[in-house]
């Protein structure tokens, strides 16, 4: 789930406490916080397994998931006391703009809001999201650790995960068959094949590099097991965007761009849409949701191109590490008059057995089209159904369920995501244009982010 626009793309978030040892699922509800603590009702509704709600409430829900009216209907059937007003105020940045304004104005925010993971820290820091730890605790075990880390900060949970976007490699099987290429498993192999392919086909590129998508670029680092933003237990930040490892990843793509084997593009622009339709790129680094969001809408010859999904190449042969690109969670705002009803709603639509079949069903046939964050969603029949946009490949089951378990749980988004993306994209564009070296580009971005964080009163080591 991602939006292009304003070069601001969203995705994931958060500051898990560094104290949280990866893989350990114990929750520690932090001490007296400065946020609203939603109190828990004691009765459990037998049918739903979630708290019963006896009062009457009307809540507003901002979301851009396809066919979400259906999801709301299912909820209202089980909770007739809670009326939900669904509003789609835009996908990604248009919504964040409105939310940010509403938080600042102290009125006008919805009760429940869909946020990509990378925007979580920024909105947690804005003081606009309610602490719903008590409500998420009972369903916490349904989510992979790395996903829970994305919606937690200082031991408090601020949202219920909805969907995720583990990375994979999409490739046109038609080209690979014709060129007798095998699907690359390491980046070294990817590079060799890329240069070879471009030499034989000067009018095509082996892959593309998205200059206008900082979220995607950082996803490449995430998939390499690099963690440029880390909050230490004392609340300080360590920023290392220009570490040798990070420079190595960007330099790698930079060299491929220079040789022409990879094209620097701006996804979401008409030029890119046209190239997608022409099948100009033999491979694409994309997420679980990539076919439904980017291949089906733009590549009208997808069946000839015969796209398939594969595991993402590794930097070291035999490693199994991945990153995430996109995915969202549903948060409750501090402006909500019915925080309890809102929290129950966010829980139910993302974890209930009554909702999962609808959530996982492809958007084209009336479902939500989500790659679910809740692991129970993996056992819904439609999750393992052949994907017609990938030549009938059962990619969710074969590739992305495994990739989801490989996503590095140490990754954290910082509270200045928008700023980070903008500055990174700007510097990366300079590097692509040859105005500065990749090392220089990352150092510039690093220095700007550190200076900005300090100006906001954060303690930063950079």
């Amino acid at each position: 789930m991602r939006t292009l626009g304003k070069g601001m793309v969203g995705a994931t978030c958060v500051l898990s406490m560094a104290v949280l040892v990866a893989g350990c699922g114990t929750s520690s509800t932090g001490g007296a916080g400065d946020t609203t603590q939603v109190t828990k009702s004691t009765q459990i509704d037998k049918k739903t397994g979630l708290p019963a709600y006896n009062g009457k409430a009307t809540i507003t829900f901002w979301s851009w998931v396809p066919n979400d009216a259906k999801r709301v209907q299912i909820f209202e059937k089980y909770y007739p006391n809670i009326k939900v007003k669904l509003e789609d105020v835009g996908a990604g940045s248009p919504e964040y703009t409105k939310l940010s304004t509403a938080i600042q104005a102290k009125s006008g925010a919805p009760d429940v809001v869909m946020l990509e993971y990378d925007m979580m820290p920024q909105f947690i820091e804005s003081g606009g999201l309610a602490d719903i730890t008590q409500y998420v605790d009972p369903v916490k075990s349904k989510f992979p650790t790395w996903v829970m880390n994305q919606v937690s900060s200082n031991g408090k949970v601020y949202a219920v995960p909805e969907d995720t976007g583990p990375l994979g490699l999409y490739y046109q099987k038609s080209i690979f068959d014709q060129e007798h290429l095998s699907v690359p498993t390491t980046w070294a192999q990817f590079q060799t094949e890329a240069e070879q392919f471009h030499q034989n086909n000067p009018n095509q590129a082996f892959s593309y590099f998205a200059t206008n998508d900082g979220q995607w670029q950082l996803g490449l680092l995430w998939a390499a097991g690099i963690t440029p933003f880390q909050q230490t237990s004392d609340g300080n930040w360590k920023i290392s965007l220009d570490s040798p490892q990070a420079v190595k990843v960007f330099q790698y793509w930079g060299n491929l761009i220079k040789s022409g084997a990879v094209e620097a593009v701006q996804p979401g622009t008409p030029s890119w849409e046209k190239e997608m339709d022409q099948g100009k790129f033999a491979t694409v680094v994309g997420s679980a949701w990539y076919p439904s969001e980017d291949i089906v809408p733009w590549d009208k010859h997808a069946s000839e191109h015969d796209w398939h999904a594969a595991f993402i190449p590794q930097w070291t042969a035999g490693q199994t590490v991945d990153g995430d690109w996109g995915g969202s969670a549903d948060a409750v705002t501090t402006q909500s008059k019915y925080p309890e009803a809102a929290a129950i709603f966010a829980d139910f639509i993302n974890t209930s057995q009554y909702e999962q079949p609808h959530n996982v069903q492809p958007a084209g046939t009336g479902g939500g089209g989500l790659f679910p964050a809740d692991k129970d969603g993996f056992s819904v029949p439609s999750f393992s159904a052949p994907d017609p946009s990938l030549g009938g490949q059962t990619a969710n089951k074969d590739i992305f369920e495994t990739e989801s378990s490989r996503v590095d749980a140490n990754w954290q988004w910082n509270p200045w995501s928008t700023y980070t993306f903008q500055e990174l994209q700007s510097e990366v564009t300079n590097a692509v244009d040859g105005k500065e070296s990749w090392q220089q580009a990352l150092t510039n971005a690093q220095n700007k982010i550190v200076a900005y964080a300090k100006s906001q009163g954060y303690n930063v080591q950079g």
């Binding site: 601001m8 703009t97 600042q104 979401g268 008409p270 030029s271 200045w416 903008q422 700007s426 100006s455």
Partner: protein, 302 residues
């Protein structure tokens, strides 16, 4: 006294809106700019945001960029508008009203739509013309000139209309006299019409300068088609900071700085345009004072 009251009465609607929508927000923006925001709580930091802004090279580069752009626009767009207006004002021009309308039409296209329209024309791989000559209007080096092209297209006809109106308002006897004295159309345009247009030109140049400093629409829209710096123009920087990064205090800081610069420019504009008018007024006043004194002298002697 009464006339004073009625003057205030007439001024009231303007003053009310001016205070509510300009002075009030300015004061509020300045107030907000003295804080930083953490967890939704404002913490007072005095002028710290201003100190940070002074070291924010990207922001000052963006100010220089729009000033440079303003000068370019002043030369290219105003120059073109003057040429078109003078051409239309010659007796040889055919179908005057038709061409006036044609030149003016782009101005009827709202700025946002114009930017979208040109954005598509500028996209290589879509525009066959641009891709045929391997030219990339949206690349970082050329972007500013591509934006200039949009504004010239949009505003040249508008300014031309102002000049044509100004020329039409001049007394035709003057031009007749010049022609009788053996003045050709070239000479008439440069030696007579152009000097007459001078105050109008000064005003339009300054207005377009102030407009350039406020540039937002074009880069905002084209940013969807190409990568532009998050502080490409001062207004883009303010928007990104206040809305994108949810950092209202620092956004307000930059806005106050830009406001001060804009007000400074407007003030200079007033001085220059006012100065032109004043010199004439002074002359006229001196004459009238002189004649009054003469009259008084006569009376006292009488």
């Amino acid at each position: 006294m009464n006339s004073n009251k009625s003057a205030w009465g007439f001024l009231l609607p303007f003053l009310l809106l001016f205070v509510v929508f300009l002075i009030g927000p300015l004061i509020y923006a300045f107030y907000i700019s003295l804080f930083v925001q953490r967890m939704g709580v404002l913490h007072f930091v005095g002028f710290q945001n201003y100190l940070i802004a002074l070291q924010n090279t990207d922001f000052w580069v963006s100010i220089l960029r729009v000033l440079y752009y303003g000068v370019l626009q002043g030369v290219v767009m105003i120059g073109l508008a003057i040429v078109l207006a003078l051409l239309l004002d010659t007796p040889y021009a055919k179908a005057k009203s038709f061409f006036r309308l044609v030149y003016f039409l782009p101005y009827a296209v709202p700025g946002i739509l114009a930017a979208i329209l040109w954005g598509f024309l500028y996209s290589d791989k879509i525009d066959p013309l641009v891709s045929a000559i391997h030219f990339q209007p949206l690349s970082t080096g050329t972007l500013l000139y591509s934006i200039l092209n949009i504004t010239v297209w949009e505003w040249a006809g508008y300014n031309m209309t102002i000049y044509v109106a100004s020329l039409t308002g001049q007394s035709q006897e003057l031009f007749e006299a010049a022609r009788i004295d053996g003045c050709g159309e070239w000479k008439l345009a440069f030696a007579v019409k152009l000097p007459l247009l001078k105050p109008t030109i000064v005003m339009t140049v300054l207005l377009s300068m102030i407009g350039s400093v406020q540039m937002f629409n074009e880069p905002f829209i084209l940013g969807n088609l190409t990568a532009i710096s998050p502080s490409y123009t001062p207004n883009i920087a303010i928007y990104n900071m206040a809305i994108g990064d949810s950092n209202e205090p620092y956004g307000a800081t930059l806005a106050v700085l830009l406001g001060v610069i804009s007000i400074g420019l407007s003030f200079i504009a007033l001085l220059i345009t006012g100065g032109i008018g004043r010199r004439r007024r002074d002359k006229a006043e001196r004459h009238s004072v002189q004649s009054q004194q003469n009259v008084q002298v006569h009376l006292s002697q009488g």
